[in-house]
């Protein structure tokens, strides 16, 4: 018995570390840690026949944003820089023209939106507009809504809306989303300057 035991040699594990290192380096090199991020949007469903008689919306409740093929902005018939767009959009959404919105802090102008529920942002671009510009405009419009929601959350709950946990604060998020529903409509692009 004793002889038998002695005969089994110990497996040399000295090179195990080398093998593990080799594999480790392989995975280190092939790993791409990039997390995919982007702006989430929803497309309208496709309808063969165009909707007849779209529901009338008052002119004052529409915030038109046009982008031409030179990436220039025309907002409410006014030439604007991209850096001004967010503030302008927030002013429009938060306007509270008919006084029915209690959480709004707008100026109540007669030529701007009635309340956030009715306010619609209409975005139209040209087929020649660059994708970079389009994303920037989308970003500013989404940011306008997010900023307003942020302000409301700060006032009502003393917390930032952007940093809320989607599961824990589900109710609050729902309520704030309802207070400022995101209404961005996209028209078919023009084809003027391609």
């Amino acid at each position: 018995m004793a002889r038998n035991k002695r005969a089994i040699p110990e497996i040399n594990a000295g090179s195990m570390a080398d093998i593990a290192f080799l594999l480790l380096i392989f995975y280190l090199v092939t790993t791409t840690m990039d997390t995919d991020k982007g702006i989430n949007r929803k497309l309208p469903p496709y309808d063969e026949e165009l909707v007849q008689d779209p529901p009338p919306i008052k002119e004052r409740n529409i915030f038109t944003v046009l982008v031409n093929s030179n990436d220039q902005l025309l907002v409410e018939d006014e030439y604007l820089e991209i850096s001004q767009l967010r503030a302008k959009a927030m002013e429009f959404i938060d306007n509270n023209g008919d006084g029915s919105c209690e959480h709004c802090k707008g100026y109540g102008m007669s030529n701007s939106s009635d309340n956030p529920d009715k306010a619609v942002i209409s975005l139209q671009n040209d087929r020649g507009t660059s994708y970079g510009m389009y994303v920037k405009v989308q970003n500013e419009l989404v940011a306008a809504y997010e900023d307003l929601r942020d302000q409301l959350a700060e006032r009502d709950y003393g917390r930032s809306y952007r940093e809320m946990d989607p599961e824990e604060d589900e109710e609050i998020i729902k309520e704030i989303k309802n207070a400022y529903p995101q209404k961005i409509s996209e028209a078919e692009p023009l084809n003027i300057g391609g």
Binding site: A13, A20, G38, K42, G128, G132, V135, A143, P189
Partner: protein, 164 residues
């Protein structure tokens, strides 16, 4: 003193490396788990646009990618410089998008299908004409959840400068 010094020299022990394989294995397993192997070979150059209001794409298995951009240098002889669409590993035309989406959806299980997200990874210099065509095809294929893949800018002010 001299005697003590000598003793110290002799007492210097070898560093115990027997735990090294364990540590390396731990790292190895971490990277093995974290690695996503399904990266397609990009044939178009994609310089993503920048945006601040971005959200993370959860569940990579539910995401389908559509790439758009100018073909890379080595493909330019064959395909020219005009922006093109890439689906999976090959160049595709706009008419292929709808079939591709439907095929991708078929590959997913019934309950996951409504949660499918299309991620549009396009170069920022691509004209909206192409993107609009893609969007129309996606609408026809009933893939309505989309995501404009973009990067978080390091400096927010750079977002408003004209060259970006």
């Amino acid at each position: 003193m001299a005697v003590i010094k000598k003793k110290k020299d002799k007492a210097l022990p070898a560093v115990n490396t027997s735990a090294l394989p364990d540590i390396v294995f731990m790292l190895l397993f971490f990277f093995m788990v974290a690695t996503v192997m399904r990266e397609v070979d990009l044939k178009v150059a994609v310089n993503k646009p920048q945006a601040t209001e971005i959200q993370k794409l959860e569940r990579k298995s539910l995401v389908t990618y559509i790439y758009a951009g100018a073909p890379r240098q080595k493909y330019q002889d064959k395909f020219g410089k005009a922006p093109r669409i890439q689906l999976n590993d090959a160049f595709a035309s706009i008419d292929d998008v709808q079939a591709f989406v439907i095929q991708e959806r078929e590959a997913k299980s019934e309950e996951e299908r409504p949660m499918m997200t299309m991620s549009i990874k396009a170069d920022k210099s691509v004209k909206m004409g192409l993107i609009t065509d893609i969007k129309l095809q996606l609408r026809k294929a009933q893939a309505l959840k989309i995501n404009y893949s973009s990067l978080q800018p390091k400096n927010v002010d750079a977002l408003y400068s004209s060259e970006n």
